[in-house]
């Protein structure tokens, strides 16, 4: 039993149209504001339609992981603040925020956006980079919005100084070692049609979802399928094509 709203979204999709009048392959406008949080080393607020996500980068000095003694540590977290949606509840991260955090983490990590080897300080100390996504208003497609916010915040972060065994947050010593800029593009399948950048109501009506994260050179650095239906290889190819095309305008908004 589809809800009435889901049925309506399906009907529209069949006719090639959407609730907010967009074309099926049209992204909402992405507005990015950086450096809005003074207490963070880097920050960005992304508005993707009515989805609003703030990313904050905090850096500290810690020990490397035992199996990667020569690399800094990167960690991504996400919190769906309960003010962002009437259905969100306070409490420990649920599966939605875990998925957003883990997909954005893989996107940043696998794209080699940050040269983690350059974050080594000495044999016992490395930089630990925490990216926290704070969702302030929810209208679908958190992965793409979160990914944009994380990338923009990392790209504009200023490193604090490390002096005499302590981090000095009052002085800055340059940017993070950035080597690439990944961009995520999410497409959903509704009633057999493929729609990019789904809104909340479209996500609720979607049968399946694919997020494709693309590097500067067009290569793909992460994939994440969601949803309770499958898709054919033809649909996969079309989704990959859409991602390759759509990432360009998103990439422009990062500049």
């Amino acid at each position: 039993m589809m809800t009435i709203d889901e049925g309506y979204v399906h009907e529209l999709a069949e006719k090639g149209s959407r609730l907010d009048g967009r074309r099926l392959d049209e992204f909402r406008n992405a507005e990015i504001e950086t450096n809005l949080i003074k207490s963070a080393e880097g920050s960005a607020q992304v508005r993707l339609g009515n989805t609003v996500v703030i990313a904050g980068v905090k850096m500290s000095v810690g020990e490397p992981f035992e199996d990667k003694p020569d690399e800094g540590v990167l960690m991504v977290g996400a919190e769906l603040t309960p003010l962002a949606d009437p259905d969100f509840e306070p409490g420990p991260p649920d599966i939605r925020s875990i998925e957003v955090a883990r997909v954005v983490d893989r996107t940043v990590r696998e794209s080699k956006m940050i040269n983690v080897k350059a974050l080594k300080i000495d044999d016992e100390h490395v930089w630990v980079v925490n990216v926290d996504l704070h969702v302030m208003n929810f209208d679908g497609n958190l992965i793409d919005a979160g990914s944009l916010a994380a990338v923009a915040a990392l790209a504009t972060a200023k490193m604090p100084k490390y002096e005499n065994g302590k981090v000095n947050y009052d002085e800055r010593s340059g940017s993070l070692p950035i080597t690439a800029m990944p961009v995520s593009v999410t497409t959903v399948k509704i009633n057999g049609k493929l729609l990019v950048d789904p809104s909340k109501r479209e996500e609720n009506a979607a049968d399946a979802r694919l997020t494709v994260s693309v590097k500067n050179d067009g290569n793909i650095c992460s994939l994440q399928k969601g949803g309770t239906e499958g898709f054919t290889t033809e649909e996969l190819h079309e989704m990959l094509r859409l991602a390759g095309e759509k990432q360009k305008s998103l990439r422009d908004s990062l500049k």
Binding site: I37, V57, T81, L83, D132
Partner: protein, 228 residues
């Protein structure tokens, strides 16, 4: 003169905006110097679990939360003892102005997020929550305004920064409802004589009245825009 050039009883740069988020039924943004708080309100709405329902009035819940990036040292996500205590005193500070008996058995949720912290986060949170409640159309006896005061080098000073808080003899956050002339939040850490406490609270109340003007202004602006 203070380190940032302010007079003793001068507020930090104050920005108040009403209606900043789409989904929350009411919302607000408050910046007091380098402290930034946003608040969102949902309700009155059905309240679960049912045993929390109150037969004669609304159940007011508040969650005060610091974003992980709001402090120099990253704040671990999740509610610690400090944020639980603040959530409680903030709810108590706001309840006096709400017509709670209008909505028996329901709940109102107030969510405060501190995005950037430089002292006075609970006051900024109250200021934002109060405007968000009004923006949500909750029937109220008036707004609640809040600001801290203290005593530094013999002077009573208003709206302390983090650097000043470290040097003050006491930090006294005060919430005040001008329409009722009532103090609705009062805490203190420090060392002050009885007279000093009275004077510091008076200074804070005067500050609250200025904050109150900015809150009213923000709500007027919102409705003016809505009319255009």
């Amino acid at each position: 003169m203070r380190a940032d050039g302010r007079a003793s009883e001068e507020l930090r740069e104050l920005v108040v905006k009403a209606g900043v988020f789409k989904n929350a039924e009411g919302s607000a943004y408050v910046k007091m110097g380098n402290t930034v708080a946003v608040a969102g309100v949902y309700g009155p709405r059905e309240l679960f679990p049912k045993f929390l329902q109150k037969a004669d009035r609304v159940h007011l819940k508040c969650r005060y939360n610091m974003a992980p990036f709001s402090t120099k040292d990253r704040k671990r996500p999740g509610q610690d003892r400090r944020s639980q205590e603040i959530s409680k005193v903030v709810a108590d500070a706001l309840e006096p102005v709400i017509f709670t008996k209008e909505f028996p058995k329901t709940g109102i949720d107030i969510y405060i997020e501190i995005l950037q912290g430089d002292a006075g986060t609970r006051c900024a949170g109250i200021n934002a929550a109060s405007v968000a409640l009004a923006d949500a159309g909750i029937p109220m006896r008036g707004l609640v305004a809040a600001v801290a005061a203290g005593k530094v080098d013999g002077d009573y000073v208003l709206d302390l920064t983090y650097n000043e808080e470290e040097k003050t003899k006491a930090d006294v956050p005060v919430a005040y409802a001008p329409s009722m002339k009532k103090i609705t939040l009062l805490q203190m850490d420090g060392d002050l004589s009885q007279e000093d406490v009275k004077n510091v609270v008076d200074v804070a109340i005067k500050g609250c009245e200025k904050v109150h003007e900015a809150q009213v202004g923000a709500l007027k602006n919102k409705y003016k825009e809505a009319m255009l």
